[in-house]
Assembly symmetry: C3
């Protein structure tokens, strides 16, 4: 039973903005490595990531793009992937994603992965960059700095980083480092110096000091660019209950009227995120990562919760794909299918006018991101090879 | 596709008790003011509250009552509203709501709004009153009192307030002021005096002192009337995670066997509220506010979660409508449609006997409120103009 | 409309492992006692537990097994139960449950209930035992022990308890006693001695000391058996927000690589539990208790949330039935129906291959438990009367 109707058609054709993703691995992948990239956990003995909702979705929706039948077995899937080679595999999935612009978080790359430009080239799309603040701070520490100079050096490094062409936003993983039950106040200079002293004396490394993590959030305010925040679902490093975005409310009050704040992923706190987006002018959300991990069978349900009270100018699309290009495609597919089913069913029940449904689809899939990020997201300079083709 | 079946018919005919709502504005509304009354946030540039689930629901379900086509555009909607005038608009929505009794929280009125009597007259219904405790306390402070006399003067003021004809309950917004992670113990007299001294010395005003907020909850216990508690969803003043009603468990243990406690709104913590209603004899819940904000498309889903384990004598109907009479109507409509779909589908699947479905509909829509509040909710004295007419 | 299709048929035939349940009462039950066993709360005047989702489910799905029509009235239901006698009632429900192996928590028995052997006999099944650690510790205190010897005596008692034939796991109700926001570290011997001294000096009894409760969790690690943990939904003793399994993340990191940890019930935190199961190799979950309390009408929805991201080798079936054998049957029925609907609808939409759906059904209903617990769960020695018969 193919999903049909004008909303499905419009969403199938819509060139998305994927406002938060990562690169795709450039190497051919052995079975176990591919498996481990399918999960936020690991590939454990006897518990293959193929045997999970995302694995089922890959076999169902990714296999045909590799010329395999739907629901192809895992070993055939990975063998065919190797046969085609990483370059061709990436090209197929990235172009099929139907994404016009990717905003790429370049601060996480434990594997050799595509640069934003490589990702864009493979997709026939445009790529922008998102600068990860914790990585920036850790690089400052690694290069060596006096505690009393930390704030100034970080500030300069951040200003330089965001001045690079194509940078449209910064990102924080404060959710992982301290969680959101943080002191909402801007830390005083002296506090930052003391905390930096402690951190640097311990050799720098992974930044988890609450004063310095919070200082990064305020640095984002000073930079003036949109701030992407990891919230909710992630790998085992997260403490899920401390990544509930509602915990940020006090901080959001303090920064109201400054920068856009984009709550990423959110699951299972999509309703809490929706509340914040409904009551704060410059708070937005997406349900990236959850889309492909839950798969099409549940993406509609997660989107339905995310949209229960969210103003339609406040939801964005992201894949949060990392590593396997299947996810850049699958995120887009789950978003298109899930949102189309949700909107079309309301149109069919006469709860929503078709014109409004089409507007909501364009806004959430593309235009909200263009509005928030501005150029080059809003005025993408197309790769000469033109628009990506895609199948949904 | 019109929803049909005996449960839909019964709920369409049922005269509801709206056990928690506010007045409707009495002035004609300019576009921006109307917009701002549609949202728990504000009407921000480029993010019209019409472009949200509640805005879609108003254009779909309210427009026809103003003689407009379904899905009428926002500007036509507000123009027609002005053309008819606030009085006629209120009369149409309030009478169409099909509510026999409104319990009106009179403690929140930033706009000129209808009194309970005016609301009742416009609806052809009966209105009772709910006294807001924080407002009472702030009025005591504003009139001037010695710290040592605060508790006694408040007690007297509260007793007088609830003795007024038509008062059926008290309400607290402790969720907004301190949240529910509060010390569950009754504060000692000396503590109250010290806290009152601090508050009064600072000039009174908005009461946020944890001892005094908690003292108000215990005052409710002494008054012996049902206590309505804001929980969950609200405006930007709330810290959502501190308004999770599960945080009240220790306090509910202490007051078990005294007064009925009615958890209002609850979204997104309707399952937590349902748990409390399932294990405490005198705890009840509703999903008011969430009904019209999520709209008919999701009201069924929210009600389904609220009813997952809730005893059927423990769920009530409220709109929590404030400001625009659309919401008094829309809340009722979402409740009727959502509950009817939920119950009828179970009857159709032979999971529920029709007679039981009809009983659950009457209980939750009307009889549970009558049972808890007693007269005049249970024995409403009808306005001479008789029963309201309504369309669902 | 009977649910049909190959997944329904497979699940209807599947001999389940109910990896966490309790005994069934052996006495005939008066109306009020039966009612009170239907609820995690109590049977309050005017609020019959029959008037709740679980009551509706019992009248619909249990009544036919007593030769009554579907939706039989409560008084007829309890009268027929008395007429048949507890022994026959238990036999009917337990054998109809279609469970091959019950893992029985023997640490909770406020009523005279079946022993594991009696439960097995009535069901024509095999029963294993789960040892409750808090009960063990309280028994140690009741027998008398010096504070300095508490840890050693407890250890010996625990080792003896789990050496009994048929014991396959231990269980903790730390969720009830302290909640999960606990210090994740293994307590030092001296800490345990001090805490034990305090507890014993106070006369022992219900163990709520945070050091000693936490010490029990670490005792489980030392024992090496799978540890079942109550999480989420329960009676009024629980503080729901402190029973959110996400709060255990720090502890789960510390014990990673040691014992399997089975998160029981989980509702309404099934998504949080699913996250933990997705990122920790040896964490598993079920939605027992919630299945029969929400009833078939919502069991599918709860299972759908539980399975949103959960690896299919990580979900198990349990009823958590206590007291009335209706629940041993109803839990199984809700699991079969809910999971079959969920999987079959995905097969029908070509989102899931039938072979995969059948594998997921067998894994979650039986094989995951066999894999985790080993013999005798994995190699049940059948009662000579052979396989139970069942109807779904």
């Amino acid at each position: 039973m193919a999903p049909t109707g004008p909303v499905h058609e419009a969403l199938a054709e819509l060139e998305l903005v994927d406002h938060h993703c990562h690169g795709a691995v450039t190497a051919d992948l052995a079975f176990h490595t591919f498996e481990s990239l399918l999960t936020e956990g690991e590939a454990w003995p006897g518990v293959s990531p193929f045997d999970s909702p995302v694995g089922i979705a890959v076999r169902r929706h990714s296999a045909p793009l590799l010329d395999l039948p739907r629901h192809a077995p895992p070993d055939e899937y990975v063998a065919r992937r190797a046969e085609l080679g990483a370059r061709e595999v990436n090209r197929r999935f990235l172009s099929a994603a139907g994404v016009g612009t990717f905003c790429v978080d370049t601060g996480y790359a434990p594997h050799p992965i595509t640069s934003p430009a490589e990702l864009a080239r493979a997709a026939g799309a445009v790529a922008c960059e998102v600068v990860r603040l914790e990585q920036l701070a850790e690089a400052v520490a690694a290069r060596g700095v006096e505690a009393g100079q930390y704030a100034a050096v970080l500030r300069t490094a951040a200003e330089e980083a965001v001045r690079r062409p194509g940078v449209v936003a910064v990102k924080s993983v404060a959710a992982y480092r301290t969680g959101f039950a943080l002191d909402p106040r801007r830390p005083a200079d002296a506090e930052v110096t003391v905390a930096a002293g402690r951190w640097l004396a311990a050799g720098g490394g992974r930044l988890t000091d609450p004063v310095l993590v919070r200082h990064l959030l305020w640095t984002a305010v000073d930079l003036g660019l949109p701030l992407q925040l990891h919230t909710g679902f992630g790998d085992a490093d997260v403490r899920l209950h401390r990544a509930d975005p509602a915990l940020l409310t006090d901080w959001l009050h303090r920064v109201a009227g400054t920068i856009p704040v984009l709550l990423l992923h959110c699951w299972p706190y999509q309703r809490q995120a929706a509340y914040l987006a409904a009551v704060f002018e410059r708070v937005y959300l997406d349900v990236g990562l959850a889309l492909h991990h839950t798969g099409p069978a549940r993406a509609r349900a997660v989107l339905a919760e995310a949209l229960e009270i969210t103003p339609f100018r406040k939801l964005l699309y992201s894949s949060d794909a990392y590593g396997v290009a299947e996810f850049h495609h699958l995120g887009a597919l789950c978003f298109r299918l899930g949102l189309a089913e949700l909107l079309q069913s309301r149109v069919d029940a006469d709860e929503l006018a078709l014109a409004d449904a089409l507007r909501i689809a364009s806004w959430t899939g593309r235009d909200n991101a263009r509005r928030i990020y501005g150029p080059p997201v809003s005025e993408p300079v197309r790769d000469p090879r033109g628009r990506p083709t895609r199948k949904v």
